[in-house]
Amino acid sequence: MLVVSAILWGTGCNDDNTPSDEDKPTITSVNFLDGTSIQAGGSLNVRITFSDNMELSEAFVEVHDNFEGHKHGKANLKYDGSQILSLSGTSADQTANLLVPNNAAAGPYHLEISVLDAEGNRSDVKVLDFEITQLGQPTYTNLVEAMEVKAGEEFTITFTVEDDVDLAEVSYKLIDHENESAAPISDGDIDLEGSSDLSFTFDQKFTIDNSVQEAELIISTFDSDGNLSITEVEIDVK
């Protein structure tokens, strides 16, 4: 058996001199502005150019919502525009058409692009964010977008959120702007399901200690159609 395997060892050696291609394909350019807004019912053409040293194979344009597990939404549909694009050659220029239907749920969405070459080499994932807007999504009024507070002293944030059909949930999260991965200073949910709320007045008291210089209150509101509106209040702590 030793002899047999010695022979196999010899014949098994790969003696062709072309080294296998391990160079990743790349996404050369994307004409899409990070943070773009699209009105539901509209469309967006995302032109992407790809390149590879040998031969391109496929690109994946994945579009999905960034609602982070919220289960709200009945009538409106979360938009999903994922598509696989067929590519060839060493460079390719393709356009992904994002047709956002009229009833798409308003809120934040991701656009993720990656590309494979013919040998199975994979590019890094390019992640871009965009927002879908709806005329009927919740709107904030009487909201102060930036404020200054004193460390250790209680302050109140108040605003009104309105919807044309029914509000479902208001949630808030007060975070340290300098240390976003720390636990929130304060957070909570207000459940408005069950009754027909066209308007809700938010009125909460907060205190921020002197370890925080800049804070941010992030407010997310769902209506019963599944539209999500997010807004922020910048808080300077003195």
Partner: protein
Amino acid sequence: MCLASFGQHTLSGYVTSESGIPLESVDVFLHETHVGVLTDSNGFFNITGVKKGHYHLHVTYAGYHAQQRDIDVMSSIDNLRFGLEQSINELHEVIIENSLEKQDLKNNPLQVIHVDAHFLKQQGGTSLMTKLEKIPGIGSLNNGVGVSKPALRGLNGNRVVVTTDGIKQEGQQWGSDHGLEVDPNNADKIEIIKGASALVYGSDAVAGVINIRPDLPKGKDQFSVGQQATCNSLNESFGSSTYVEGNKGGKWFKVRLSLLRAGDYKVPSDSFLFQTTKLPIYNNRLKNTALDELAFNAYLGISKNWGYWYARASYFTQQSGFFSGAFGIPSVGLLQHDGDFTNIDLPYQEVNHLNLSTHANILINSNWLEIDAGFQRNNRGEVAKPHSGAFGEEATADNQALKLQLNTATLNARYFVNDSNSKKIFGLSGQWRNNVIDGYEFIIPAYNTGLIALYGLGKTKSKNGWRINLGGRAEINYVSFDSTAMPFYRNGTLVGFAQRNVVFETFQPLWALGIGLNKEIKKGLFIKINSAKTSRMIQPNELASNGLHHGAFRFEKGDINLKPETAIQNDVSIIYERKRWLIESSIYGNYFFNFVYLAPSNQFARLEIDGNVYPYPEAGQLYAYTQAPARHYGFETSIEYKVLSELILYSTSEYTEVLNLERDEYAPFIPPLSVKTGLEYIFKPNKKWLDEIHAEVNLGFYSQQNRVPRNDIPTEAYSLVNANLALYLKSGFDINLAVNNVLNTEYFSNMSRYKIIGIQEPGRSVVIGVSYKLKSTPDPH
């Protein structure tokens, strides 16, 4: 004084040191019956009531080389003499045989390593496998800490067999995000066989076998209770294990309960780089990596002159969180601290493993029949919210993503036949597995597999001193699964069912052949040669996977056309042990005709519903199980030199490589070339309260690893320093202190799943363990 009754004989003799000094309290133990005695102050032992038959007598004593002798008992023997040699290495002294073949280290044609509970307690690792990493050729594939899978010579998963009490552990070992379902506290004796071991252990034993056994109160009358507690600063874990065991007149029991709670583990850096995005690690602790573990083991047995019988019941359960950055594309929002470093939040996994087995060794006409039979139930589940997009799977109320239940029935029988110039083993192995699936996302189908194998192994000695092992195995494997369909939804409305796999059934005959040679060429110098033709049965995950494997961060698809993986495997080892030196070296070269691997395809994963093709949400690139010729080769060396009677200098090194010859591409998760050098100080002071001090410093150098497959990330070279100190007190207390990664080196390991998402390996950690054993042993009369 015992009167020899008809057909019963007495074995007696003396145990001394090499220079002739009588040794007291030496363990003299009959392997076949689990009957044992201790020597008295004159080194005298006397085992009564022994039936006619072939036996192995084990003689073990701390600090000395254990001895084993084959004894054919026809009548009473009263002149047995054992002169024990002092040993250089503690690892080599205590256990002599653990393997199903009943071969000791030097007579096994393969390289075999034994470790005991003392060794494991000295090491500071967070899991059983990481505690074994000091030994060359042994590694672990890690998903953070606390979850690690065994890897032998760079191979893992379906190519490594783990047995507990002689029964192959079945727990979806192909999966890469969960570890061994074994209580590390119950692993008192671990035997690692490196190299092709398919003849006795089955076709999966391509890279080798890890045999795990507890210390059972076999042999002499005794009663003891023990307790140990361990804390690890790495994840602020606390572990506790308690046991009670006893033996009276050959009837014995053991019960052990172990608990472990660990929080989120720490890494040196406060951020990580995922592709080009820098993401935070709050307070240097990886969010949601906490874990909880509970293990229970119970044994009940009887040892008589006809042999022994024992039964085991064990249960292991672990719940561990998945790092929040390791599910989908990590984002700042997901990594925000939830205010608690010890909670286990979504997504997490639950594993539990039940093991019921019975073990017997029966004397039949001077020969021995060993039977191990068992039932295992392994439940593995992942609890997670589904993909957040509009299109995909729909969660159930309990968020049960993956739920696999694997039921396994095993029967192993081995009949040992000895005659004057040869020994033979005839074996029968049978296994039935039934896998049930549930949850909204499953990667493998429900399946049934069956296996019946017959094998024979003959051992003889040639005139010029070569011991020759020759064996063959024939088996029939059965695999079947039904077609499985998975529902997909868009915004809560059913789109349709996607077929995940087709109906499949196969009967596959396989055979294996092996030859082993070994010889003591001159005093203290042994050579071992092993060569085998093996065929590994293709497992259901390789045939029928179709889904996202979260632990591996990729979409995997099986292929029902895969053929059994056939290989020719060769090993040569040399052991030299003389005076102050102990040198062991192995080289191996395996040729696989059709190595199974996951090939990155040039397509993204898709699914088909009623003729329409959809991109598979959040799946990315499709990896397909494929076969190609491959070469697997490497070496391990270990050199120990006894500088002083208390001081040992050692150096080990290892290298392994798996090259796919068709694609000219390396396999993933292969350890880099490494050299570990250390000093070990073992001192037995003449103190009333202190029995022994053991201290060790180990410097490991790991080279860069550029031999990685496409889409993988090479790792850079690094050095690690580990240190440990153990105090063995005469009062029964053992105190262990270990410091891992003393220099707090920041590095990436090629054996870590988290390398892909840019997570470094743990930094410095301190492990403290205290154990206590209260033992009562009656006089050996």
